[in-house]
Symmetry: C2
Subunit: 443 residues, 2 copies
């Protein structure tokens, strides 16, 4: 890529623009976008985030706005329009939509982006219960002209649009032409509430193998359908969000390489600062034990090793529990079950690691690290092994219980990140370590 | 749940059995399973992992084996049979399948479970290019009796089963009855290779909104289809695997609450032991600086704070890069781009945190922590602030480059877990810290 930012734009390929896009100032973007050839522009427009689409649409000439806003599917158009803060601009852009689409978009805009209603498409195939199979096939055929989202399922509605049942296209097609829809429709079906959270909708799709689910309001009036292709995106996005939170940062809004430096900075500095301030506590606690450290510097030498054992087991436990919660495998009421489980597993882990700790201390002894305290070497080894063992159990319990505490306080359990757990374990771990040292070594 | 393990089984509900299942010894499981009523048993059998299905099928009477193995879809049956090690048993179970299914299963068993071939179903709708639309509709209608995986797309094959094109059911249905399939079929389509890795197949589905993709061999002979409902599971599974690895452990085979204690122990102890041994290095390195520490214990007091800053930034960077790699946003060749990005972002992060570090040290000074070294307090504050800043940059670069190194060595980048990065940063961080202290404080 050899295009300088200030060079006069002439033509540019999809790949080149994609590469420099995040580095472009907002008001340069439209100019560059318009240098793409038509096919590249179509691909590009559909690939950029809704925020960027909203920005471009506002800056474009009326003629272009009209063209590009009509390229968007109704649910995408609703997402984009919701991102335009300026009311006048939002109306201008919306008015370029076809009349019929505008109505659909208005209906969709009432939903939040991460609710079932925000994911759904209002374009589904519908029939009446008193039609015959042959009539229904003809009727669906006519609806097909309207770019339906899917004809995999056809929904049976009464005149007030209440959802009565569903017929798969295959069953309709296989059925005897004279039978009534009400006789062949499936009435025992799974529906989604319009304000249901997208994560729980994704879990429904993952558990049962649906291709599409109907969205209904509180009165069982059918509002639209959610198709499984949107769910793949939801599952991927939600996992990415959780992973980033579990890595100790706020979730990014864009791809890694598409994020601006300032976004990257803002999403990362928050937790880093909080954690640094929490670590102020470690220094306070350590200072409290400075006499003990002065009398045996060898105790200091093992601090990182011992803290790390607790932190690492804590990270494992927090990761396991957080993910299991996100997948709906663990609920709040499972807290005692998880506690018991972690207690048993971490006791075995602790015993093993304490043994390794004891061996390590002996290796260090051969390396002459304990020459100053040779006569009391076994006490030191015992202190270190015991501390490793206790901290492993302690770390596991902190790491596994923290997500429950967060969830109980209505905070996303994914905030129980490895760095956060490590920090908590560090602070209290030092107290545990020096208490054990005091008990065994008497310092 | 009040059922004791040794109580004589009588009847049991789905939920109760689900709860005690992981705690049951293998040879008790069949006995309990057979106490379920028929509907619960069907649900239960389809909910347990393939390993457990394989175990039950081996232990059952011929009559039951015949019933339950026929409950499985061909691709699931292939997965289960692959898990039976005893050849004689495997043949016995397989022989209970219907003749036709057995042939499909044999074909599927040639694939690994995590390859495209292992995900696909051989039951797709097929037509010939020289059929008319009306003939094709009749032909597809006949195939529908065979429980096709989907009729959303219908594949056009020549006599040797080469894939020539695809027609959506809607297009077929809308088309003029006399037109030839070869005129209306789409020939420019995305296909999946039979040995393609399931992660890359999932990325294809996520990027474009397909409902199903055809699987072909090297000669473009069509082998089956992969439908999007299986992809939702793949995406969820792969994310869970990555998350668990990034938490510093091997990925579990089962749900958290369904895993046995010994599995949980085995999956966690590996990394914990490795990390503990790596931490042996920290003690060696720290010991090297024990004179410096003796002369100013206050340096020890800040070790956890400084190490944590590097470790936390490193965890963030590793998490970001690993996830972006898993989503295909970053490739090996982006290494310099990522390096530059992390350098810029982490410099700003480092500067901010160094400033906070400086303020923290001043707070500690007011708390009297520096009373022994009051005359040189500013040098100490400078050492700590500089170390925080440098370690933040260093941690970021290590955390972001490690996934590249692992990928380059064909190791899963998700192994660059927060605990692993923290450990690496700890060891080298101590050297950096004491070097800076030596330069500024001259000790």
């Amino acid at each position: 890529m050899s295009l300088g930012k200030n060079q006069n734009p002439c033509t540019i390929s999809f790949d080149d623009l994609w590469e420099i896009w995040p580095t472009l100032a907002e008001d340069e973007r439209l100019e560059w976008f318009e240098q793409l050839d038509h096919n590249d522009a179509e691909d590009f427009f559909s690939s950029i985030p809704s925020e960027d689409q909203a920005f471009l649409l506002q800056k474009m000439s009326d003629r272009n706005t009209r063209y590009w806003v009509r390229e968007l599917a109704p649910d995408d158009a609703a997402d984009v329009l919701q991102l335009i803060d300026d009311t006048e601009q939002r109306e201008r852009v919306k008015n370029h939509l076809q009349e019929r689409v505008r109505k659909e978009v208005d209906a969709l805009m009432a939903y939040k982006e991460d609710e079932a209603g925000g994911l759904m498409s209002p374009r589904f195939a519908r029939i009446r219960p008193d039609m015959s199979v042959d009539e229904a096939i003809l009727y669906v055929r006519r609806q097909m002209r309207d770019e339906l989202e899917t004809v995999y399922y056809i929904y049976v509605l009464d005149k007030e649009q209440h959802l009565l049942g569903v017929v798969s296209f295959e069953d309709l097609f296989k059925g005897n032409g004279n039978r009534l829809i009400s006789d062949i429709m499936e009435t025992d079906m799974t529906t989604v509430g319009e304000d249901q959270d997208q994560e729980s909708v994704a879990l429904l799709f993952a558990r049962e193998d649906y291709f599409a689910l109907p969205v209904v309001d509180a009165h069982n009036v059918m509002k639209g359908i959610i198709t499984i292709d949107d769910i793949v995106d939801v599952v991927t996005e939600e996992a990415t969000e959780d992973i980033q939170k579990m890595g100790g940062m706020a979730a990014l809004d864009n791809d890694y390489l598409q994020s601006t430096f300032s976004e990257m900075y803002k999403k990362r500095i928050g937790w880093l600062s909080i954690l640094l301030c929490c670590n102020l506590l470690t220094t306070r606690v350590m200072d409290h034990y400075s006499d003990a450290m002065s009398s045996a510097v060898i105790l200091c030498v093992f601090i990182p090793l011992i803290m790390a054992s607790g932190g690492n087991t804590g990270s494992q436990a927090a990761t396991l529990v957080t993910r299991a919660m996100a997948l709906g495998e663990i609920r709040l009421r499972d807290v005692f079950k998880v506690f018991k489980r972690e207690l048993i597993v971490s006791s075995s882990l602790g015993a093993t690691l304490a043994l390794i700790g004891f061996v390590i201390t002996n290796i260090c002894n051969f390396a002459g690290m304990f020459s100053d305290v040779q006569e009391r070497f076994l006490y030191f080894a015992g202190t270190i092994a015991t501390s490793v063992g206790v901290l492993v159990i302690y770390g596991s319990l902190v790491g596994s219980m923290l997500p429950f505490l967060l969830k109980f306080c209505h905070i996303d359990p994914a905030s129980a990140s490895a760095p956060f757990v490590t920090t908590i374990v560090d602070v209290s771990g030092i107290i545990i370590y020096f208490t054990i040292a005091r008990l065994i070594l008497g310092i």
